[in-house]
């Protein structure tokens, strides 16, 4: 299995009136071709910023991005336009991400036009038809406008638009979070089918741990701009190592009355990402925190094959 994307020491800081906001702070990971990396974490921990920075929708502060064997850390506009064909994004709110004044067929054909993919309007028409069929949109919606569609269909339009240029890689930012569960399942199935058929690679951002477990091959857990754990999904759920991951997994309410599990309740709230203190970002809420945790940030280390964790005490805690 070959690596499609490799990210090294990626940082994205924002200047704010209160100081430097460390939205993504020294994150490294890689994704294999055809696989899905799920990214989970609390609101504001940097998931969307990570996804956007990786595909150059936001300029990075520093770090290295290698895509399909090529270093794309620093690219000019021309190269960026070329990259856009291969790297696409699907957004959470299909409504605000679709232009309300464009019809469905115009929205889907826009990228095809920008990149002059089709020789004539007949070819363009048949490409749009094929894309609508691929995502399960009835052709009678060709001339409809986004507000006339329900949330599930709008998300299908967003997916069709992302697929138009036949990309290799898609960042999916909470693509089903705004949908009802019965509709959510339809869209998740569609995305899995498309991935299989087209060999797509996904970053799948969500705060829903049941969804991420269903859709991902590997899962990474973020906390305040840091990636604190990354592992194959089964291993992560069976054997979480980071104290934050453990609390997170124990807090998921399950739709069953037979699985009462021991809940780890965290104290306090997520702290501010503005000018963060040195040391482990989780220290303020961690019951295992020691002095060294507040002095320097723990590195992300491989604890078991493919299982990475950033915690000084993970090994010791795992041994009980």
């Amino acid at each position: 299995m070959s690596t499609l994307l490799e990210v090294k020491n990626l940082k994205k800081y924002f200047k704010t009136p209160g100081g430097m906001l460390h939205a993504v702070d020294d994150v490294s990971f890689s994704i294999n071709r055809g696989e899905t990396l799920g990214v989970v974490g609390e609101s504001g921990c940097g998931k969307s910023t990570l996804g956007r920075t990786v595909i150059h929708l936001l300029p990075k502060t520093s770090g290295q991005i290698i895509f399909d064997g090529e270093d794309i850390s620093d690219v000019d506009d021309h190269k960026l336009k070329e990259l856009r064909r291969d790297m696409q994004m699907i957004f959470q709110d299909p409504f605000s991400s679709l232009n309300p004044r464009m019809s469905i067929s115009q929205i889907i054909s826009e990228p095809l036009k920008i990149y002059h993919v089709c020789k004539n309007s007949k070819e363009l028409d048949s490409r749009v038809t094929a894309l609508m069929e691929t995502v399960g949109l009835a052709l009678r919606f060709r001339d409809a406008y986004p507000h006339e569609l329900d949330g599930g269909r709008r998300q299908r339009v967003g997916i069709a638009r992302a697929l138009a240029l036949d990309p290799k890689f898609i960042v999916c930012d909470e693509p089903v979070s705004a949908l009802d569960v019965s509709i959510q399942a339809q869209i998740l199935n569609l995305m899995q089918d498309l991935q299989k058929e087209r060999g797509l690679t996904f970053i799948f951002i969500t705060h829903d741990l049941s969804v991420v477990k269903h859709i991902s091959d590997n899962i990474s857990v973020m906390y305040l701009g840091n990636m604190v754990e990354k592992s194959p999904k089964k291993e992560l759920f069976d054997n979480p190592l980071h104290p934050y991951t453990k609390a997170l997994l124990s807090a998921i309410p399950q739709a069953s009355i037979h699985r009462k599990k021991e809940r780890i309740l965290l104290e306090g709230e997520i702290t501010s990402p503005i000018n963060p203190k040195p040391g482990c970002r989780f220290a303020a809420r961690c019951i295992y925190a020691q002095d060294r945790c507040r002095e320097a940030a723990p590195p992300l280390e491989e604890m078991a094959p493919g299982h990475f964790c950033a915690c000084y005490r993970a090994k010791e805690l795992a041994q009980g």
């Binding site: 609101s43 009802d180 009355i257 965290l266």
Partner: protein
């Protein structure tokens, strides 16, 4: 004597816009006993919020109108009360927690003043006494009293929702209606808030209707569950009935559509079709257009409420009193 504290009978609420009627709530029966927590579960547009607003006497009118029904609270019909009588019930005896904490908080008042105001409104006490009580309430929901004079924007989402909860609890109401109180929160914060609500509910002996679309949250804190679809309660029962002896085809499919943490499946089983349009509901069973079990009778005749086992109510032609039809 029945312990029924709140009893909703045959409640229908419609919204009238131009020439269209949106039938948001259709013949809902639901009762809440003292000390109980009932979960009201359904997807977007099922009519959960409208039902809650109906109980609170807060249906926006126009366009909304209660077209039939009774809402008995301590034996009296809330729908027959005058506006001033209703104001005494609202907040004091029945209070509501809204999904978005910001809509419930005033951005230009400190959180402390907002809690104090509610206490003064409902209890005869001096401003000083009310402020002292408000500080107690803040501490009770886990916010240090020193933060009394801060404004809502200085608080995180979870803290704001705790402030809203403390306002709802300030007058020790008999009933709390919580409309998706944790939907906007992260799971670790959700766990804190749910734990807090359960604890406070015990302490002040409140009953609760918990509105949610999350069957996981319900499993954790509810005693009874009502499943709502297209403005109707299509299944009702205790946790065992709903989770282990699920009867209604919609409820069964709803469980099937949620990814299960303990079971790995390659594909989910979505419910085909779309959410029903409340201005154009199917004439017979409302779920009929999406139901894999539908029969000819389902298309023409609304199924009656039947009790399949004591306390387990289902609205579906597959069942008759006492079990399968």
């Amino acid at each position: 004597m029945s312990d029924k504290l709140l009893e909703i009978k045959n409640l229908s609420i419609h919204y009238f816009a131009d020439k269209t009627v949106f039938k948001a709530v259709n013949g809902v029966n639901l009762s809440l006993e003292r000390g109980q927590t009932v979960g009201l579960v359904g997807e977007t547009g099922a009519g959960k919020t409208t039902t809650a607003l109906g109980v609170m006497g807060l249906i926006p009118s126009p366009p909304g109108k209660v077209v039939s029904g009774e809402i008995l609270f301590e034996g009296k019909d809330l729908l027959k009360m005058s506006a001033s009588e209703m104001r005494k019930v609202r907040g004091k005896k029945i209070s509501m927690i809204f999904q978005d904490p910001m809509t419930a908080l005033n951005p230009v008042l400190t959180v402390g003043d907002q809690i104090t105001e509610v206490i003064k409104l409902h209890e005869k006490c001096s401003s000083l006494e009310a402020a002292a009580k408000a500080k107690e309430m803040l501490e009770m929901v886990g916010i240090p009293a020193e933060r009394f004079s801060e404004y809502p924007h200085q608080f995180s989402g979870g803290m704001k929702q705790r402030v809203v909860i403390s306002i709802a609890l300030a007058c020790r109401p008999e009933v709390i209606i919580a409309d998706e109180p944790t939907t906007a929160l992260d799971v670790t914060i959700q766990a804190q808030v749910l734990e807090l609500m359960t604890k406070l509910k015990k302490e002040i002996q409140t009953s609760m209707i918990l509105i949610t679309h999350d069957l996981g949250v319900v499993a954790e804190i509810c005693d009874k569950v009502a499943i709502m679809y297209a403005g109707e309660i299509i299944e009702f029962g205790d946790l065992e009935a709903i989770y282990d002896n699920t009867a209604h085809p919609y409820t069964i499919r709803l469980f099937g559509a949620i990814p299960d943490l303990e079971k790995d499946v390659d594909r989910l089983e979505p419910i085909m079709g779309l959410m029903p349009d409340p201005s154009n509901l199917a004439p017979g069973c409302r779920f009929c257009p999406r139901c894999a079990n539908r029969m000819p009778i389902c298309e023409t005749t609304p199924p009656p409420e039947v009790e399949v086992t004591p306390g387990h109510m289902v609205k579906c032609h597959l069942y008759k009193e006492g079990g399968l039809a």
